[in-house]
């Protein structure tokens, strides 16, 4: 009985989630223009995609914003988590609740409120505001990924490093950082995917000049729907796959490295 439910659950997941994506990608290889009739295999949609300067610019914007935003958010989020961890219990709970709000808040509210904020201060929407917004909405996710790891770390290990002569900075790097690294990496990966993924917040803050892949696809599908969009989706799925694979790799690798690492 349980097996049956497990199986049908899996079938439903694959059916509803992956079939449409597979369908989309399948037709990105279509020779003809139709999205229904497959008339022959080709890579020309992909070639067109990479020749399209607008799309390439959007891809570049997406990657740059995602990279900068997730790196900055990871650094700030990790430092914040360390600070929060040292607070007293009630203060910590209060701050953690505040941290959850942006996570639970609908994106559209975050987007609109940030847009209003920037316009109040007379800042022109565009690259800067998008980047700041991405950093902002990524930080809570990094904090939430790092906190559990930090809570597992025995605080006397940090003191042990100090006791053995390490300065506070070195003690943190040698004793704490390796232990919370898995949390930092997963926080970073989450920030990266969220950034690449984001449409709503970017949409409100991008102004007229900046386009990311998400906003690009949105504005393009309003005017033309051709198979290069399918190819774009294919590329995005590939990118996400690569991030996923990378996210699972470094833990094994860093485990080996740590053992050989010398101070």
């Amino acid at each position: 009985m349980r097996k049956f439910f497990e199986k049908s659950y899996m079938a439903l997941i694959f059916g509803f989630l992956y079939l449409p994506i597979a369908y989309l990608i399948f037709f990105s290889f279509n020779e003809g223009k139709s999205k229904v009739i497959f008339s022959g295999f080709t890579l020309k949609n992909y070639v067109n995609l990479f020749r399209d300067e607008e799309i390439m610019q959007a891809l570049l914007n997406t990657l740059i914003i995602a990279a900068i935003a997730s790196v900055v958010a990871t650094v700030i989020g990790t430092m914040a988590a360390i600070g929060i961890q040292r607070l007293r219990k009630w203060q910590r709970n209060a701050v953690m609740n505040v941290t959850y709000i942006p996570v639970l808040n609908p994106d559209i509210i975050t987007g609109v409120s940030l847009m209003l904020l920037f316009s109040i201060f007379g800042i022109t929407l565009g690259y800067g505001p998008v980047l700041l917004a991405h950093i902002t909405f990524n930080i809570p996710y990094v904090i939430l990924a790092v906190m559990p790891k930090l809570r597992q770390v025995d605080s006397s290990i940090y003191e042990a490093a100090l006791d053995l002569g390490a300065s506070p900075a070195l003690a943190f790097r040698k004793a704490i950082l390796p232990q919370i690294m898995p949390g930092i990496i997963s926080g970073f990966m989450m920030a990266l995917t969220l950034s690449v993924d984001d449409f709503v917040i970017t949409f409100f803050l991008k102004g007229v000049e900046v386009e990311t892949l998400a906003t690009m696809i949105y504005s393009t599908t309003k005017v033309r729907i051709d198979l290069s969009m399918n190819a774009l989706c294919g590329v995005m799925v590939l990118v996400v796959l690569i991030i996923l694979i990378l996210a699972n790799l470094p833990q094994k690798k860093s485990g080996n490295k740590k053992r050989e690492e010398r101070i």
Partner: protein, 349 residues
């Protein structure tokens, strides 16, 4: 011998709660000093003050006569064996022990030599590559000791290092720690709440209660001449009761006058009297003045423990002679075994 560590008028409080109350302590070089007291009395806080993890609100910490109160922990020449080992889980045994040497940028050959020496010292040869989480509690403890000692500290602080080990392992480790201390020729400041451990291992025992030092002395002093009822009660089992010092060398309790070896309390002064259970000799009822009835008898391995009811007090007696419950006996206490202490509030009788 000179003092290697001195705590001068140290005052520590957390959230207004006084933890160490104007604490003074001088520790001599190469001594094995034990801080002994019930849980929560401030032993760990004292160690952390010496190590530099607690900044006292008042007072100074001296190291070889130099004021190190303002020196941060990582610059102090003392090392600590933490209560729960605090080994680095992401390093193997070798790297754990080498940590301090790597921080001080010791050459690689030197590190290898020293780590090998330490592994030999703590009987862990061949464990270099082992993951610390795969070690037993006793082995982790040895790694923690080696990791601290590899830096050649002049003072080693040990916070209940054997607390997590079972009884048999603990006895073995006590002997090993003593051997290591003698071999290295350095000062050990050792924290425990186990009075037997304190008495068997230490040169000097510091008995603490509620952030105050109750008594400092050799194990013999502490055991034989407890300074107050708390020390008497905490160090081994005791009969503690009220009495009256008639004059020097004569004390009265249970309505009987006993000769004793203490003097200087004045005449007709209320005092506390301590008699160890093993210092009471059992005689037949007609042969002594202090009589009582045996209430319970428990076999304790080496001796019998008897609770004996006299007119005013329930006595605990340890003896290899056995009596039955209900037997009438007399108790003989020779003057040397009667310990007189100044009266304190809150004692029985």
């Amino acid at each position: 011998m000179k003092n290697i560590i001195e705590l001068k008028d140290i005052h520590v409080s957390f959230d207004g709660e006084v933890i160490l109350d104007h604490f003074n302590l001088a520790i001599k070089d190469k001594e094995f000093v034990t801080l002994l007291g019930p849980s929560g009395c401030g032993k760990t806080t004292t160690l952390r003050t010496i190590a530099g993890f607690v900044q006292p609100q008042e007072g100074r910490v001296l190291f070889e006569g130099q004021d190190i109160s303002k020196l941060p922990a990582h610059k102090r020449q003392v090392n600590t064996v933490f209560q729960r080992y605090a080994l680095f889980p992401h390093y193997n045994v070798y790297e754990n022990i080498a940590f301090g040497l790597r921080i001080s940028k010791t050459p690689e050959e030197e590190i290898e030599k020293r780590v090998k020496e330490m592994l030999a010292l703590v009987n862990l040869k061949g464990y270099e590559k082992r993951n610390v989480s795969s070690l037993s509690g006793g082995q982790q403890q040895r790694v923690a000791i080696a990791r601290a000692l590899v830096n050649n500290p002049k003072v080693l602080l040990l916070d209940e290092p054997l607390g997590a080990l079972d009884l048999k392992l603990r006895k073995g480790m006590q002997n090993e720690l003593l051997r290591i201390q003698r071999q290295m020729g350095i000062t050990f400041i050792y924290v425990t709440h186990d009075q037997e451990e304190a008495l068997t291992m230490s040169d000097t025992v510091v008995v603490m209660k509620d952030g105050l030092i109750q008594q400092i002395g050799t194990p013999e002093d502490i055991y034989n001449e407890p300074a107050n009822p708390f020390v008497a009660d905490f160090i081994g089992e005791s009969n503690i009761f009220g009495g009256k010092m008639i004059r020097d060398y004569l004390v009265e309790f249970e309505g009987i006058e006993f000769p004793c070896v203490d003097a200087g309390f004045g005449e007709n002064v209320a005092v506390d009297v301590v008699v160890r259970p093993e210092d009471i000799e059992i005689l037949d009822a007609q042969d002594g003045m202090l009589c009582g009835t045996v209430e319970t008898v428990t076999f304790k391995g080496v001796h019998y423990e008897m609770m004996v009811r006299s007119d005013r007090f329930l006595w605990k007696i340890h003896s290899i002679k056995c009596r039955e419950p209900g037997d009438k006996i007399a108790m003989k206490i020779i003057p040397e075994y009667i310990h007189i202490m100044k009266k304190e509030a809150g004692t029985v009788n």
